[in-house]
Every structure is written in structure tokens, then in C-alpha cells.
């Protein structure tokens, strides 16, 4: 699929707001296994009455979407396409808990309503009055990528349209306890920035966040970057061949990439997958990581892309993200490669505007 997505505005809420603002190389340090996103001043963009009714997924999405639209200078969009791995987790938990505590009687329906996975996309539609195409993908760690692929298709079909595309996930309360039981988390020595050196420790540092992009099929003076390729796969047997094939499909080779952003999260059971390509096909390239500062969640790639936009716009890779000492020259093309727990691999190819 070759339809280029032009990004005109970005809004992101993460556990590293300063880094995403591009203002500093400093990142916040955390010594905890669950790192909440830092709440912005939601009231600046969401009326207080409305805000009170929104759970964290909904408010993060609406705020990020409004920032993206403001940056892009658009008042309205034609479609809203989103991804979320787990949806509105806290309201889901709240409703289950209420059912158990009250023996399924006299339940408040609000948490049930707001547990629905498409509530972030629906909230944005309701808030901005967008009656167009509205879609939500829920495919674990490739939910955001699915939203991007749909956006590419949509922009092929509707070349004059503007689309809000984004993804987000929230931390729950009970669910992270389940993750701990399932062995997903690094409960022994969790820290951010997460050390990525071998031998490392098993488990992830879990976080949350939301990032939205106001995009279209046409370049404008507001364009900050573009997405030229997206690919996903549940399992990959030969990673180098898979990545090589993707680059060929997009008419480029390894040498045409100026930076690769790898989804290292410090979980030594799966980081070897990144190390194999980092020391293999990407060994001569500048490399960066992003999940060691943003934490892990299904749609973290959306915030990784927001970071990539910063890097492309400012032509600078913050030191805290760098994995090797290669000094990038002109930053034109960035490839993001992500997977989670060895499954749901994705490639996202991004470029500077005008290149």
C-alpha cells in the first residue's frame, strides 16, 4: 500500500511530556512498574462539565485530538480512525467489580457504557460533531498500525479528506495485577529510563498514553512529516528478510534509512529480537529506542511516532534515546520497528515533509 499519509498536526499525552514537547533532552525518571501518563491541563481544551464525564482513555484521546487539530489548523475532520489494545480498562473493571459486590443488582450503567472499546473515537466525534467514518481497531500491539492502514485506504478512497488518526491505552487497577501474575511485568527492579544492556531483567514497565495525528493525502505548508509505509505480522520467522522485503516494497534499501527506532522495553526475554536486527541488518545505522522512556502499552507506537515527528522536524535525536554512537546526518527517513512479547511485529516508515 503506497498512499502517503501527510501529518499536519500531532498531539500526545505520555509519561514524558517534556520530551514529547521537544523542549528538552531530559526525561522523567520513575522507579515503579506502573507509570501513569502525566495529565495535561485538560480544562484548557475540554469544557469542565464535559471533562467530568470522561474516563482517562476518553480525556487523553480528546485532548490529544484537539491539540493535533489545532496544530494542523483544522476546525473539522472527515473521519476518525483509532486503535486501542485494551480500551477503557478502568471502567470495565469498575463494572465487573460492581456486579460482584452488588450481586448483579442496582448497577450504575455509566461504567458499562464507557467500557465500550470505541468510546475514545466516539467521544471525539461527539465533541467536534464529526458525523463521518468512525473506526476502532483492537488488535493488541498492532491496533495503532491497523488504524494507520485503514487511514491509508480511506485517503485512497477519499483523497480530499482530513482524518484524525490515533491510538491510546490506559492503565487499569486490577488488570495490572493480572499482568503481574502472568509474568508480564518487571516487579523486581522497575525503572525508567529502563536499562537496555544485557543481561537485563525479565518483564516490562507498563505505562499509558494517547497520541493523535491530523492527516490528509496532500502536503501543505503545515505538514510536519509523512508516513509512507506500514506493515504488521503476528509472527515473523525471518526478521531480516521481512524487513528487507518491506523496504523493497517501498523502493528503498537499508542505506536509505537515516535512523531506526527500535521498540526495546528492557524485557530481556524479547529484547533479543531487536538486538538481532540492531547487530544485523541495521548495524551500520544510527539507532534509537523509545519504549525505555515511554514504557510499554499496546498503542505506544503512536507516541513513538509523535517522537519521530519531533526528531524529523528538529533534525536531532535526543541523547537519552540513542542506542549507538553513530551520528545521524540529515534525518530524512526513520523506520520504527516494534513488537510485544515476541508477537505482533510492525514496521512504520516515516519521512520529513518535502522529501
Amino acid at each position: 500500500m503506497t498512499q502517503t499519509i501527510y501529518i499536519h498536526g500531532v498531539g500526545a499525552i505520555t509519561s514524558q511530556p517534556e520530551l514529547l514537547d521537544g523542549a528538552t533532552d531530559e526525561v522523567r525518571a520513575y522507579q515503579q512498574v506502573l507509570v501513569p501518563a502525566v495529565d495535561p491541563d485538560y480544562k484548557a481544551l475540554i469544557p469542565a462539565l464535559q471533562l467530568r464525564r470522561l474516563n482517562k482513555s476518553m480525556r487523553m484521546a480528546l485532548y490529544a485530538a484537539r491539540v493535533a487539530m489545532r496544530e494542523a489548523g483544522v476546525e473539522q475532520v472527515d473521519a476518525i480512525v483509532t486503535g486501542t489494545g485494551l480500551g477503557c480498562l478502568t471502567d470495565s473493571e469498575r463494572f465487573v467489580q460492581a456486579m460482584r459486590e452488588n450481586d448483579e443488582q442496582f448497577l450504575n450503567p455509566t461504567p458499562f457504557i464507557q467500557s465500550t472499546h470505541n468510546m475514545a473515537a466516539a467521544t471525539i466525534a461527539l465533541a467536534i460533531g464529526c458525523k463521518g467514518y468512525n473506526m476502532t481497531y483492537v488488535h493488541n500491539a498492532t491496533s495503532m498500525e491497523a488504524a494507520m492502514l485503514d487511514t491509508m485506504l480511506y485517503l485512497c478512497e477519499h483523497p480530499e479528506s482530513t482524518v484524525l488518526m490515533g491510538g491510546g491505552d490506559e492503565l487499569g487497577l486490577r488488570t495490572p495485577q493480572f499482568w503481574e501474575q502472568a509474568g508480564y511485568l518487571d516487579t523486581v527492579r522497575p525503572q525508567v529510563p529502563t536499562p537496555l544492556t544485557s543481561p537485563g531483567t525479565p518483564g516490562e514497565v507498563a505505562s499509558e498514553g494517547s497520541a493523535f495525528f491530523a492527516v490528509s493525502a496532500k502536503e501543505s505548508e503545515r505538514t510536519v512529516a509523512k508516513i509512507t509505509g506500514v506493515k504488521t505480522a503476528h509472527d515473523v520467522t525471518d526478521m531480516s528478510a521481512w524487513i528487507g522485503h518491506f523496504l523493497v516494497e517501498h523502493g528503498i534499501g537499508i542505506g536509505d534509512l537515516d535512523l531506526v527506532m527500535l521498540g526495546y522495553n528492557g524485557d530481556n526475554r524479547y529484547d533479543a529480537i531487536y538486538r538481532s536486527v540492531g547487530e544485523g541488518i541495521f548495524s551500520d545505522l544510527p539507532q534509537a529506542a523509545y519504549k525505555h522512556v515511554l514504557g510499554e502499552y499496546d498503542t505506544v507506537v503512536a507516541s513513538g511516532m509523535a517522537l519521530a515527528v519531533q526528531i524529523l522536524v528538529h533534525q536531532r535525536v535526543p541523547a537519552v534515546l540513542r542506542l549507538n554512537s553513530y551520528e545521524p546526518g540529515r534525518l530524512r527517513r526513520v523506520l520504527l520497528y516494534n513488537q510485544r512479547r515476541g508477537k505482533n511485529h510492525s514496521l512504520v516508515l516515516m519521512q520529513t515533509a518535502g522529501c
Binding site: G87, L107, M119, Y137
Partner: protein
């Protein structure tokens, strides 16, 4: 886009409260046999009281029917999906070199396991292998792995329009030349979570649901799964398929009115139907039958009915229509998929399906659903799916390209 090659429906499979195969579902539809009964299988205080469209097989029986080892973790949604997949995939050879994708849909996902083991997970290791099954995408991954579907695999969750949107994405990807074949559909099992959710919203009927009736009192939930095999016209031709139908149109729009309720005038539904007809290149008058969403909630049927009257240009102009929810219950994410199967049956049988439990037309609308099986010419069927968050989808299935 209207000139692009259409997606052909080459196969389908369905499990619902009215049958475990397409043939069983057809037989029940033809003989007006509803699957709505008092809740029997889900552990709940509502057991024996609330009316549901439950599939009369326990999880243990489903494991057995599918040959799944008992120590593996499959939620009920996954089990129902796999049963429907067996039938849908009967004629598909995934080793034939075609680019095959899987686009599934659910709202419940693994919630039935999560609600059951909510405290247990923390106390005992016995069921912790079910923890990874909670996310909606998990059962899609299980299907993809069991069948070896390695091209594009994803999951959609847009409330009650989820599976309609999965069918739409498959048709769009085939039209765009991204896939040769798309396995599309959805599944939702009953759960305490959804039963209590709709009950708490005060839209759960205390009797058999009566779509489009003036005195309707709300919905009955159901559980189901259905998948369609969509193929490009070229692929279907090369494989010498007999097309069951064509996905000739699709549209999605948002009501942008309220979190759960549809707008009074059904604007979202109207926009979705209009864009589906536009993609199909058909005027409203070409539609012979509308398989309505028709949940039998006071709000849905009035809103959808108004949209139908508006689309067709007056209550007299509304073609034959019915809701099949009184057979199956409202099966949430699966509804768009099972009703796609029923719409295709209307084309293959050249008949309109009955709307059960109807007595009195909604005064404000003056439209009457088809209440009996009726043999008639059916060339194009419009199928609606409307959901929470204002998500409205409409599909057009056609007998001929």
C-alpha cells in the same frame, strides 16, 4: 470507487441460538422458530429469568466439538468463532497462494473468562493461563494461528456495528487490491458483563423482544459468531466458485449525538445507508429487502425507522423489511455478521425473512415489517448495524455483480 471489482462472497458459516450451521439457521428462519429462552448456562442471578438467545452448548462441549485440549485457554467467544470458521472455511484451501487476510470483530472479547476468574486469578494459579485471553484481539490471533492465516490479521470493536465494519474493511481491501481473500466476521458470547450492562441501561425486555412494535419493551441479548469468505472476482472466477452474493456497497457514519442513544431522526443511520448505496451505485428503489438492525429498544427502532422512511422517501416507499433479532437476540459484535449471512440467504432463497412478535405498527412511523417468510424477487439487500458511540454501518449485498 464504484467501478472497482466487487468482493464476492464465496463461503459462510454461522452459529447462533437458532442453529449451529447455515442450514439450521435457514430452517429456523423459514419456520419462524425463535432461539430465545430463559438464561441457562451463564452463572448469574438472572439465570432462568432473563430471556436470551443462548447457544445450547457448554464450553466443555464446545472444546470437545472442536478437538481443543482441555488445558488450553479458549474463551467462549473464541470457541463460537472457531465453530463458525469451520463451516465458513470448508471450501477454502489456504495453501492456494492467495493473499488471505482475517478481519474479526468482538466487543466482549475475553470478558467471560475475566469476570469468572476476577478474584481467582489473584488467589490461585489454576486459571491464570486465561489471563492473556482478555484483550479483544486475542481470539483473532488464535483463529489466525489455528488456520495459518499469515497475511493481514486485525480486530475491530465498534460496539454493535463491529462485524459489519469487519465485512466492510475486507471488501475495501479486496477492491483496493490489497488482498485476494478476506475472512471477515465477528463473535460475541453472552457474559454477565453484557447482560447486566444492558439490564442496567433499562433497555432489556422482560419479555420476548418485539422489533418495530409500538409496545416493544427493549432487547433480548444473544450470542453468536459468523464469518464470510470474501474473494476478489478474479480469485472467485479462477477457483470456479459459485458466488453466494456480492458485497456491492458499504458505508459507515457517526450519529455524533449521544454515547448510547441514537439521534431522534436517525441521521447516522441515514448517512450510512446513503453512502452504502452510493458505493453500490444504486438508487434506494433498487433495494428489495432491508434487514434492519431492529433491536426492539424504543430508541433504536424509532430512530432507524425514521431513517428508513427518510431514505426511501415516505413510509409507503419503504421496501419489505424485517429484524431477525427476535430469532437470535441481539448478538452485539456478531450481529452484523450473522445478519449478513441472513441477508445472503434472502438472496439465495429469493425470500424475505420474518420479523417475529410484531403486532402493532409504531404510530409515529406507519411502517410494518414483514412478519412471515415471503417468497419474492430479491436482487439487493440492505443490512444495517447501529451501535453505541453513534457507530452506524450499512452493507449492500447483491445477487449479481
Amino acid at each position: 470507487m464504484t467501478q472497482a471489482p466487487q468482493a464476492v462472497v464465496s463461503g459462510m458459516g454461522v452459529v447462533s441460538a437458532i442453529g449451529l450451521t447455515v442450514a439450521e439457521n435457514l430452517d429456523a428462519l423459514r419456520h419462524a422458530r425463535s432461539g430465545i429462552r430463559p438464561l441457562a448456562l451463564i452463572p448469574s442471578v438472572h439465570k432462568g429469568k432473563l430471556l436470551v438467545g443462548e447457544i445450547p452448548l457448554s464450553n466443555v462441549e464446545l472444546y470437545g466439538a472442536l478437538g481443543i485440549p482441555e488445558d488450553e485457554a479458549y474463551t467462549r467467544t473464541a470457541l463460537l468463532a472457531l465453530l463458525a470458521m469451520q463451516e465458513a472455511m470448508a471450501e477454502v484451501d489456504l495453501g492456494d497462494g492467495r493473499r488471505t487476510g482475517l478481519i474479526s470483530a468482538t466487543t466482549v472479547g475475553g470478558m467471560d473468562a475475566t469476570e469468572r476468574y476476577y478474584d481467582d486469578y489473584l488467589e490461585s494459579p489454576a486459571h491464570r493461563h486465561f489471563i492473556p485471553t482478555h484483550p479483544c484481539g486475542h481470539f483473532t490471533e488464535q483463529i489466525a494461528q489455528r488456520y495459518g492465516i499469515r497475511n493481514y490479521v486485525t480486530t475491530i470493536s465498534t460496539a454493535c456495528s463491529s462485524a459489519a465494519n469487519a465485512i466492510m474493511l475486507g471488501a475495501r481491501m479486496i477492491r483496493a487490491g490489497l488482498l485476494d481473500r478476506a475472512i471477515v466476521g465477528g463473535a460475541d458470547s453472552l457474559s454477565q458483563f453484557t447482560i447486566n450492562g444492558f439490564n442496567s441501561l433499562m433497555i432489556y425486555s422482560d419479555t420476548y423482544c418485539a422489533p418495530f412494535d409500538e409496545h416493544r419493551k427493549g432487547l433480548n441479548l444473544g450470542e453468536a459468531a459468523a464469518f464470510l469468505v470474501l474473494e476478489s472476482e478474479a480469485t472467485a472466477h479462477e477457483l470456479e466458485r459459485t458466488p453466494l452474493a456480492y458485497v456491492s456497497g458499504y458505508g459507515n457514519a457517526n450519529d455524533a449525538f449521544h454515547q448510547t442513544a441514537s439521534s431522534d431522526d436517525g441521521e447516522g443511520a441515514l448517512l450510512a445507508m446513503q453512502s452504502a448505496l452510493k458505493v453500490a451505485g444504486l438508487p434506494p428503489s433498487a433495494i428489495d429487502y432491508v434487514n434492519a438492525h431492529g433491536t426492539a429498544t424504543p430508541n433504536n427502532d424509532l430512530s432507524e425507522g425514521k431513517a428508513l422512511v427518510e431514505l426511501f422517501g415516505g413510509n409507503e416507499a419503504v421496501p419489505l423489511f424485517s429484524s431477525t433479532k427476535a430469532f437470535t437476540g441481539h448478538t452485539l459484535a456478531a450481529a452484523g455478521a450473522i445478519e449478513a449471512v441472513y441477508s445472503i440467504l434472502a438472496l439465495s432463497e429469493q425470500a424475505v425473512l420474518p420479523n417475529l412478535n410484531f403486532n402493532t405498527p409504531i404510530a409515529e412511523l406507519g411502517i410494518t415489517p414483514q412478519t412471515e417468510w415471503k417468497a419474492t424477487q430479491v436482487r439487493h439487500v440492505l443490512s444495517n448495524s447501529l451501535g453505541f458511540g453513534g457507530n452506524c454501518s450499512s452493507l449492500v449485498f447483491s445477487k449479481n455483480p
